[in-house]
């Protein structure tokens, strides 16, 4: 394809212009703008509204402590309305219209995928607080949620060692996070000598409500004499009917424990917890964790939201960590200029809420502890296991054939999100 000359001539000034745009924001002494990109309406509002409030709380507190670089922080809240294309549009609005210095937000993978090109094009910073499927590392995105090796794999290891599980049901909602996670787990299990017939994989649509047949299958699968567990990547609304059906069909957590990666305090607060009691969840944070930082955080949250019944959860901690990292990086850099801050962010270390330190790695993922909790009647978790040390997040899973030799390293000489160590090439970034 040959381009028409006028387009050629127009392109270069265009790019130059875009750069001066992002730079232009820094000089003025006006407040530092923090973009908050969470759905406040539509289906995802259930989970995301809380994160918006969390961010407002953190910004407010920062301002109370004298702001940042002597400037106040100004939150800019927009609502992508759980509509994926709208996420991209709103991001563009934040970066181009409102010229925010950083964005905190996005929940679902598809939304992140839709936002990613825009953030890269307009060279913004996005902190993404939710556990996700990995297989990604963008120069402009910082992943403060868990990568699969910080949630799924330790959970499975725990079940192998503590429960001596030999048969595995990998049940998930049919979208990219469960697909990828289960592929990774499958590879991992087989590597640990689990036979094919001892792995059952099942996918259901979003909001699946009739679990009779599937739970019956699980029951049969589990009654073959070998200890069996369900690894659940079932998403949101489908969970209630799932656990109900388990309870109704008389499958107790002692017979076939279910370990979930998407069921946290927030979700539990909307469920009848009784059928879930004793089942497990793997996260990097639980509200029940007993540390001074956590206690302080919970108090702050309750004061801010004005309701002591509100719970805290893992993505909230992720935002807490992410925000503090950004603040530290900006202070270190003495500016909010995107490129400087991105560089400053690498290696930044801030305390997390479980008594450890979270470090931003060169692949833009962070170090996290992994906790496993048993669900209690009150919708809280009893921590039954915890990794001794922090686990660094893998952007690319070594268990997937496609990404085995890919690494992410945003420091020179590599400076690439997906560097193929075999071919020594950095793919995807050349535009």
């Amino acid at each position: 394809m040959t381009q028409s000359p006028w387009l050629k001539s127009l392109r270069t000034p265009g790019v130059a212009l875009a750069l001066t745009l992002s730079a232009g924001a820094v000089q003025a002494e006006d407040p530092i703008k923090v973009g908050i990109l969470h759905s406040l309406s539509g289906t995802m509002a259930i989970s995301e509204t809380t994160l918006k409030d969390t961010m407002l709380m953190l910004v407010e507190e920062q301002n109370r402590n004298g702001g940042l670089l002597g400037r106040q922080l100004q939150p800019v809240v927009v609502d992508p309305a759980s509509d994926w294309p709208l996420f991209a549009e709103r991001t563009r609005q934040l970066l181009e219209q409102d010229q925010v210095d950083v964005i905190f937000g996005v929940w679902t993978s598809v939304a992140r995928k839709s936002v990613l090109p825009v953030v890269e094009e307009l060279n913004g910073i996005l902190f993404y607080p939710v556990q996700y499927e990995g297989e990604e590392s963008s120069r402009n995105i910082f992943y403060t949620g868990a990568a699969p090796n910080q949630q799924a794999i330790p959970a499975v290891e725990y079940l192998m060692n503590e429960y001596g599980i030999e048969r595995w049901v990998l049940a998930g909602t049919d979208y990219v996070y469960p697909r990828t996670t289960n592929r990774i787990l499958e590879a991992f299990l087989k590597a640990h000598g689990v036979a094919d017939e001892d792995i059952m994989i099942n996918y259901t649509p979003f909001g699946h409500s009739d679990w009779q047949s599937i739970v019956a299958d699980i029951r049969r699968f589990g009654s073959q004499g070998k200890p069996t567990a369900v690894v659940s990547t079932i998403n949101g609304d489908a969970n209630v009917p799932f656990y109900r059906e388990l309870g109704n069909q008389g499958i107790s957590a002692e017979d076939i424990p279910v370990i979930a990666f998407s069921v946290g305090e927030e979700e539990l607060s909307g469920m009848d917890t009784r059928p879930l009691v004793g089942h497990l969840a793997a996260w990097n944070y639980f509200m029940s964790v007993d540390t001074p930082e956590n206690a302080a955080f919970i108090d702050k949250w309750h004061d801010f939201i004005g309701d002591t019944r509100r719970v805290t959860n893992d993505p909230m901690e992720a935002h807490y960590i992410g925000f503090n990292m950004w603040v530290q990086a900006v202070e270190a850099a003495g500016t909010t200029d995107v490129d400087t801050v991105i560089d400053a962010l690498k290696g930044v270390t801030v305390p997390n809420l479980t008594g450890g330190m979270a470090e931003m790695l060169v692949n833009h993922h962070i170090t996290k502890p992994v906790l496993i909790g048993e669900i209690q009647e009150d919708g809280q978790f009893l921590v039954v296991w915890q990794t001794d040390d922090l686990i660094p997040g893998d952007a690319w899973s070594p268990h997937l054939p496609g990404s085995r030799d890919i690494i992410a390293d945003w420091t020179p000489p590599i400076s690439c999100g997906n560097f193929n160590t075999v071919t020594q090439t950095c793919s995807g970034q050349n535009y």
């Binding site: 259930i46 409500s209 957590a253 002692e254 909307g270 048993e374």
Partner: protein
């Protein structure tokens, strides 16, 4: 039950001998299944007598259909079991000697069973007393062990527990039992005082000495945490010791446990003693099964063969697993063959139960569809109003349920029952408001009603979001609505589904009566057929419209109550059902309640029988495509309205 407890000794003797050397028929075999079911499903038991009528019906249904299965008949030598006649379900049992294959009548004694379990707690405390009286002289080492229970992590705790079990100290089962049930507390001081909270009330006793302590002290104690693996371990540890518990329920449970972690042969003598002592026939059956399982490991091939024979009828998964192992690994070919043959006969029956199960799943899926769609059959079918807000009316019903539950915590059952009329009224009123406010201006413009009601649905959703947060609402189910009817180890029907099925039928019949028998129904049909004429005859059509729509809406609300027992209660729940509901109505034929009925159950069945082969998503897609094509063939659905009116 009680019959057994004071049955004459010789009877008991005969009973057990009869067991030992005659290959038991199906009833004998399935009795342990029943106990198994029972012991895993106390709620199921507590409920059972109340549901005898349903079970009986279901049983006869199965019995009827069973005779169509030759290989099953072949595998079952007819026999009359002494156990059978004692069950208070003699009629059916004799009506069909194979009855007990798919349903164990002794389930029906659950009422009595329930009474026992209620008194059981009292027994426990007596038992505990006994434990501490049996303690002749202090055993300091044991005391120290018990005091070490709070320390360390779960694995340390497990180790201590194992040491304790090894001591054989009479207090150990009590202490470990309490730990298992989360009733074992430790005080702050060092060394900690270990306390046992009573199952009922706030008082308790000291774990070491057994003397009672007051509530405050109990309150000051921190619960010693346990997690699933530890619970499992504890159950195994105390299993043997509770084999002699007075309460047959507990004996059964521990036998189940022994069955799970396969029994070591050195336990055999003890089991033999138990067989001598056991007086409860169902526990006895279980006991025999366990012993048979244990005997599969002994050297004498003849004994192993007998055990296989005894196990052949059982549907318990543990038994199948062990038989499988025997069939593959036993060094005696004869035993292997016998085991294989037994397995095949079991498998044949299991296949049949799979089918039954699928049938049930289909019916219950259909009944949910029916509930969701039937209100629409009125508003759409009779009035020709495309009510896209139907799903939100269901949601309103569900929220009403939640609201009433929060008003009266603790009274779950009553709240649910109350919710039914309440939801009907609330949703009905909303419906009437909709009709008067919007829809009445749109008669004769069905597509406009579609758009307008869609708008209303959006408003209702957002209203719920703003009124009670976008989060889902927790709606609890009363005990009698959770758990399963364990027909036998391979066929378990969940009560919630059974009830919802019955409920759907009831709603349908009620609606049918309203439409056919009441004057409202008459007027509704009149208006539906010829509005001006009806008006001319003095029917207040506006009023009738409002009521009809209210009726449809109210039924949607009632459906909401049922659905709140199955799935989320949240702002989006309505949307999950709207399209399905329309499909059902269009498929069944608009304006025809029976069409809706057949359509709903038919589609439910179709989905459930497709699912195993295609998976959930594809099944749904296929059903949708089927409906689309079907509508092409028969534009007016299964049961069309004919006549010139319909033609135009």
């Amino acid at each position: 039950m009680t019959v057994h407890c004071n049955a004459p000794p010789h009877g008991r003797g005969w009973h057990s001998t009869a067991r030992r050397d005659s290959a038991p028929g199906p009833a004998g075999a399935s009795a342990p299944d029943a106990v198994a079911a029972a012991s895993t499903q106390p709620t199921g038991l507590r409920r059972s007598r109340a549901h005898a009528w349903f079970v009986a019906g279901f049983l006869l249904l199965l019995g009827g259909s069973l005779h169509a299965e030759p290989q099953i008949l072949a595998s079952q030598p007819p026999t009359t079991e002494p156990a059978m006649t004692t069950t208070g379900f003699t009629i059916v049992a004799q009506a069909d000697p194979y009855a007990s294959d798919f349903f164990d009548p002794s389930l029906l004694d659950a009422g009595a069973e329930a009474r026992e379990t209620e008194t059981a707690e009292a027994d426990d405390d007596l038992l505990d007393e006994a434990a501490y009286e049996a303690l002749e002289e202090a055993a300091p080492d044991v005391d120290l062990l018990i005091q070490r229970l709070p320390e360390g992590n779960f694995n340390d705790r497990r180790a201590v527990a194992e040491e304790l079990a090894a001591t054989g100290d009479p207090r150990v089962p009590v202490v470990l039992g309490a730990l298992l049930e989360g009733r074992l507390l430790a005080t702050a001081e060092d060394p900690p005082r270990i306390l046992i909270r009573a199952e009922t009330g706030r008082a308790g006793r000291d774990a070491l000495t057994g003397e009672p302590v007051d509530a405050d002290l109990i309150a000051s104690g921190r619960r010693i945490p346990v997690h699933n693996p530890l619970r499992n371990a504890l159950r195994s540890l105390i299993a043997v010791s509770t084999l002699s518990a007075p309460d047959p329920e507990r004996r059964a449970t521990s036998l189940r446990r022994l069955m799970r972690d396969d029994v070591s042969p050195d336990l055999l003598e003890y089991l033999d003693d138990r067989v001598e002592l056991e007086d409860d026939p169902r526990v006895m059956d279980l006991l025999l099964t366990v012993r048979a399982l244990a005997r599969l490991n002994v050297d004498d091939a003849q004994v192993r063969l007998e055990s296989v024979e005894l196990l052949r009828g059982s549907l318990l998964s543990e038994v199948r697993v062990r038989l499988e192992a025997t069939a593959n690994r036993d060094d005696d070919p004869e035993v292997r063959a016998a085991a294989r043959e037994a397995l095949d006969s079991i498998e044949a029956r299991i296949r049949f139960f799979r089918f039954t199960e699928n049938l049930f799943f289909g019916l219950s899926a259909g009944s949910v569809l029916l509930l969701a769609a039937i209100g629409l059959a009125i508003t759409f079918g009779v009035m020709g109003v495309i009510n896209m807000a139907h799903g939100e009316l269901i949601m309103i019903g569900a929220y009403t349920t939640w609201f009433i539950q929060t008003l009266m915590p603790g009274a779950l059952s009553t709240s649910i029952l109350l919710a039914i009329p309440a939801a009907f009224v609330v949703a009905g009123l909303v419906g009437i408001a909709m009709e008067r406010g919007v829809i009445q201006f749109l008669y004769g413009r069905p597509l406009e009603t579609l758009l307008a009601t869609f708008g209303i649905s959006l408003i209702l959703q957002q209203a719920v979001r703003t009124l009670f947060s976008p989060l889902n609402r927790p709606v609890q189910s009363p005990d009698w609505l959770s758990g399963t009817l364990q027909v036998n180890p391979v066929l378990a029907l969940t009560w919630s589904r059974i009830y919802i099925f019955i409920f759907a039928i009831m709603v349908f019949v009620a609606l049918l009566l309203v439409m056919k028998k009441t004057s409202l129904g008459l007027k509704v049909r009149a208006v539906a057929q010829n509005r001006p004429m009806a008006r001319a005859l003095g029917v207040r059509t506006g009023w009738v419209d409002a009521l009809t729509f209210g009726l449809g809406a109210g039924i949607a609300g009632v459906a909401g109550v049922a659905l709140s027992q199955l799935t989320n209660v949240g702002p989006n729940m309505g949307q999950a059902y709207i399209i399905d509901s329309f499909m059902v109505v269009v498929f069944g034929g608009v304006g025809n309640l029976w069409g809706t009925f057949v359509g709903a159950l038919g589609l439910g069945m179709m989905t459930k029988f497709l699912e195993p082969h295609t998976g959930a998503v594809l099944a749904k897609i296929l059903v949708l495509i089927f409906i689309i094509l079907f509508i092409q063939r028969r534009p007016r659905g299964l049961f069309p309205k004919k006549g010139r009116a319909a033609e135009a």
